[in-house]
Symmetry: C2
Subunit: 456 residues, 2 copies
C-alpha cells in the first residue's frame, strides 16, 4: 500500500486508531482458523461515518477491506487474504438501547455477545443466539456469520432475531435495513441477505435485534452412554418426543477424556459418549419435561443419568461442554473444528462416518455436537508443522463433506464458508446457485474489495 | 400478445391448462386489493419444468409474468398490471413430504396453508404462520409475501420457517436454495432474500419448511373494554409480563358491531374494544398463565372477562375475530385493509391516530389488530363508485403512513407492498435502500418481466 494512502487512512480514523506496526499486522493476520495473512494496515473506526470515509478511500483506490471483530470465527472469514485494510470494529462497543417494552436491543457491532446477554438479562430478557465464543465474539461477527449456538435448537439462529442494520456499502454509501418492529415486510428482506454474508456485501455499524422474555427456570440433565450409537439414538428419540430442549449437546469419548486430562471434572472417561440436555420455561412444566426426558434416556440405554439439583450444580455439568474446545486445543498445537450438519434423523449415521473417516486417516477427533439440530463439530487435533499429518487432516475435511451431503445435510451449519469451506461450495450448490451468488456479490461489490478471496 | 406466442405458451403447458377466454382473463385480473388488470393469457403449470419452459419463452419475448396462487393478497401483488402471463400455480398442490423425525415439510407452491396445517397436525406437528386467509391462501403466496398471522406473535413469520426453495428465475434457469437442515449457512441466505419478494425475483415451485411440535393445549380468553385505550394498554401490559401469548387480537367497536350485524354472535356492541388472547403450551403451565393474564386484564380496566372452558367454547370466541373481515366486507361494496405496524409500546398512540384520521376524512373503519406485535389492520369500508369517498379513503392511507413512521413503525407488517404501498416506499426507505433494491431486481430480472409495475 502506498505511503500516502497509509497516511490518508490514518487521518480518517484519527490518532491511535490506525496501526501498521509489525506486531499489530501480525495480531490481525489470523482468526480461529489455521490460515494467516497480513493486512497492510489495521484500522479501529469508532463511527459509521469513519467506516464510510475509509470505504470511500478503499473504493477509490481498490484496496481490499476485511472487517472483523474478535476473530473467533472458525472458517477464516476474517483473514485478510489479499492484504489491504483490516477493519477492526471492536471499539464500536456501545449498547445503544435495551427496550423492555418492545423487546428489542440496538447495539454497535463491537458489543460482545455476552455483554448483550447480561444487559438483556438484567432487564428480564434474553438474546438467544449463544455461540461457544459468546464471551468474546462480537455482535457484528455473529450477524456476519449468522451465528448459532447450543440454545438455537429451541430459539433459532441470529437471522431469526435480526430486525435492522446500518450497513456501509463498498463505495461508502450508508444503508439502513429493516427497522424496530418485529414484523416488517417493507421492501426486500435485506436483513436476511446481509446476515451470514461474511463481510462480502457490506460492513455493519449498527444492529437492532429482537429479544425474548427470559425463561423463568432451567433444568440440566447429563446422561452417560457406553455406546455412542445409543447416545445419538437418544437424541432422535428426544427430538421426536414433542419436547424441544433449549440445548442438547453431545460429546464423544475422546472429547470427554480431553476435558478430564486438562480440567479433572470427574467425567466418566470409560463412556463412549455423554449428552448434556437443558430444558427451560415455566418451573411447573419443567419437572414433567425432565421426567419425560429421563425416561427416554433410560429407554435408549443411558447407564447413568445426573439431573442438576440447582443452578450451580447445572453450571458444573455445563462446564464439561464449555471446556471441551479449550481442552482439545491443549492436546496438540492445532485444531480444526468441522461444522457438517445433517437432518437429525441421520445424526447416528453421520457420527459413524466421522469416526470412520478420522480413523482411516489416522487423525484424532473430539466429536462435539449440537446434536438436537444435527450440527456436528468434529474437532480434529494435529500439528500443522507435520506436513503429512496436516495433509491427512485436509483429507478428512474433504471426505466429510460428500458424506454429509449424501445424508441430506449441508457443509456448514453455523461456522460459515470463509476460506475453509470455499473449495467445497460447488459440491453443495449447483452452477445456477453459484452464478446467482456471484451476481449478488458483483452488484454490491463491483470492485471486489469487500473481504476478497472468500467463498464468493 | 401475438397469436403464435399464445399458441406456443398453450403448447408448453398442455391442453386444458391455458386459457385466454374473457371470463378467465377477468377472473385472474384481480386479487384481494381494489385494482384490476387483465392478463393476455392464464397458464396453469403443474411442474417446475413447465414453469421453466414458460419463463424461457417469456424471457425471449419480454412478456410480463405475474405468478399467483389464490389471490388472497391484500396489496395488489398478484394483479398483472402490465398484462402478459398470469401464472397460476394452484394446480401444483401436492404435499410432497411431512417428516416427523426432522420436523420438516416439503410442498408444492399451490398447497393451501390450511391443508399443510392439517397434515402437520395429524403428525403431531404445527406450521405456525397462519394468515387470516389460511383456508384459501397458497404456500407459494405466503412465501412470496412473507406472510404472518395471529400466531406469529409467539412463533414468528414465514421467513423464520423457510428452509429451502426451488425457484425458476427470469430466464427459466432453475435455482435450489437452502436445504433440509434447520441450520444452514452455506452461501448467501437466498431463502431470506426470496421470502417476501412478491414474485419480482423468481417463481417458487417447491418449498421446504420447518415444523414445530404441536402445543399440547390451548386456552382462549376474551376481554371486553369500555375504553379502547385501556384495551391497548392491556396489550402492552401483557407483552411486558413475560408471557408470550400465541395470539393477542384486538377489535374496535365498529368491527364488533359489524360482526354482530352479520352473524349475531352475542358480542358486546356497547364496548369500545375487545381483546382475544390465546396461550398455548403445557396444560399445567397454562392455568397459571391464564390466571396471570386475567389479573392484568382486570387491572387495566376490562369490564368483562370470558375464559373458554373447552375447545368448542374457545372456537366460539375466535369466530368473532375470524368473521370480522367478512362482516366488514358485507357492510359496503369495497374494503381496503391497512397494515401499518408500530413498536407495541406505541399501539395506543397509533390506534388513536387511525380513528382520528378516519374521522377527519369521514371514512368508516373497523380496527382489527394483531395487537401483540403492533400490527394494525384498519379495515376501511366504502363504495369505490363514489369517487369522492374513494378519494377520501386514499387520503386516509396517505395520512396513516407518516404517522406510523413517526411512531417508529413500518408501512407494512405483513401484507406487503405490491401496488398498494409502492407510492409510500420512499417515505420509509432512503435513496440508498431504494437503489440497492433496484440493483437486486435488475440483476435477477434484467428484462423486467417478473411481476412488473410493483414496488421495485
Amino acid at each position: 500500500m502506498r505511503y500516502e494512502i497509509i497516511k490518508e487512512l490514518e487521518g480518517l480514523v484519527g490518532p491511535g486508531r490506525a496501526s501498521y506496526a509489525p506486531e499489530d499486522l501480525a495480531a490481525y493476520s489470523y482468526d480461529a482458523y489455521t490460515e494467516e495473512c497480513r493486512p497492510d494496515i489495521v484500522l479501529f473506526p469508532v463511527s459509521t461515518d469513519e467506516v464510510s470515509a475509509v470505504m470511500k478511500t478503499a473504493y477509490r483506490e481498490t484496496i481490499p477491506v476485511t472487517a472483523r471483530g474478535s476473530g473467533t470465527n472458525l472458517a477464516g472469514e476474517s483473514v485478510p487474504v489479499r492484504g489491504g485494510i483490516a477493519m477492526c470494529l471492536t471499539r464500536m462497543d456501545k449498547i445503544l438501547s435495551i427496550d423492555s417494552q418492545n423487546l428489542t436491543a440496538t447495539v454497535q457491532p463491537g458489543v460482545v455477545n455476552m455483554d448483550l446477554q447480561q444487559a438483556a438479562g438484567k432487564a428480564g430478557m434474553m438474546y438467544p443466539p449463544d455461540p461457544a465464543s459468546w464471551a468474546v465474539a462480537t455482535m457484528g461477527g455473529t450477524v456476519g456469520t449468522n451465528a448459532g449456538g447450543p440454545r438455537t435448537l429451541k430459539y433459532g439462529v441470529t437471522k431469526d432475531y435480526l430486525l435492522g442494520l446500518t450497513v456501509v456499502l463498498a463505495d461508502g454509501a450508508i444503508l439502513q435495513t429493516g427497522g424496530r418492529t418485529i414484523k416488517n415486510v417493507t421492501g426486500y428482506n435485506l436483513n436476511g441477505l446481509f446476515c451470514g454474508s461474511e463481510g462480502t456485501l457490506g460492513i455493519f455499524t449498527q444492529i437492532t435485534v429482537r429479544l425474548i422474555p427470559k425463561p423463568q427456570a432451567e433444568r440440566t440433565i447429563r446422561a452417560d452412554f457406553a455406546n455412542l450409537e445409543d447416545c445419538s439414538d437418544a437424541v432422535s428419540a428426544i427430538m421426536a418426543s414433542g419436547i424441544v430442549p433449549a440445548a442438547l449437546e453431545l460429546m464423544n469419548r475422546f472429547a470427554i477424556r480431553a476435558v478430564e486430562k486438562s480440567f479433572g471434572l470427574g467425567l466418566p472417561v470409560d463412556m463412549d459418549g455423554i449428552l448434556l440436555i437443558q430444558v427451560d420455561g415455566n418451573p411447573t412444566t419443567l419437572a414433567g419435561e425432565v421426567g419425560h426426558i429421563e425416561r427416554i434416556l433410560r429407554d435408549t440405554g443411558a447407564v447413568n443419568i445426573i439431573t442438576a439439583e440447582d443452578p450451580p450444580d447445572a453450571e458444573r455439568l455445563w462446564t464439561a461442554r464449555r471446556y471441551a474446545g479449550p481442552a482439545l486445543m491443549r492436546l496438540r498445537p492445532n485444531t480444526i473444528t468441522e461444522d457438517v450438519t445433517v437432518p437429525v434423523s441421520n445424526l447416528t449415521a453421520m457420527i459413524r462416518k466421522v469416526v470412520e473417516i478420522c480413523e482411516r486417516h489416522r487423525i484424532q477427533v473430539g466429536v462435539l455436537a449440537h446434536a438436537g439440530d444435527g450440527n456436528l463439530h468434529p474437532c480434529m487435533v494435529f500439528d500443522r508443522r507435520d506436513e503429512d499429518e496436516f495433509k491427512r487432516v485436509r483429507m478428512v475435511c474433504e471426505d466429510l463433506v460428500p458424506e454429509a451431503l449424501a445424508l441430506g445435510g449441508t457443509l456448514s451449519g453455523e461456522h460459515g464458508i470463509g476460506i475453509a469451506k470455499a473449495p467445497f461450495l460447488k459440491l453443495e450448490m449447483d452452477p445456477v446457485a453459484l452464478r446467482v451468488m456471484q451476481g449478488i456479490k458483483d452488484y454490491f461489490d463491483p470492485k471486489g474489495i469487500l473481504n476478497p478471496g472468500k467463498f464468493v
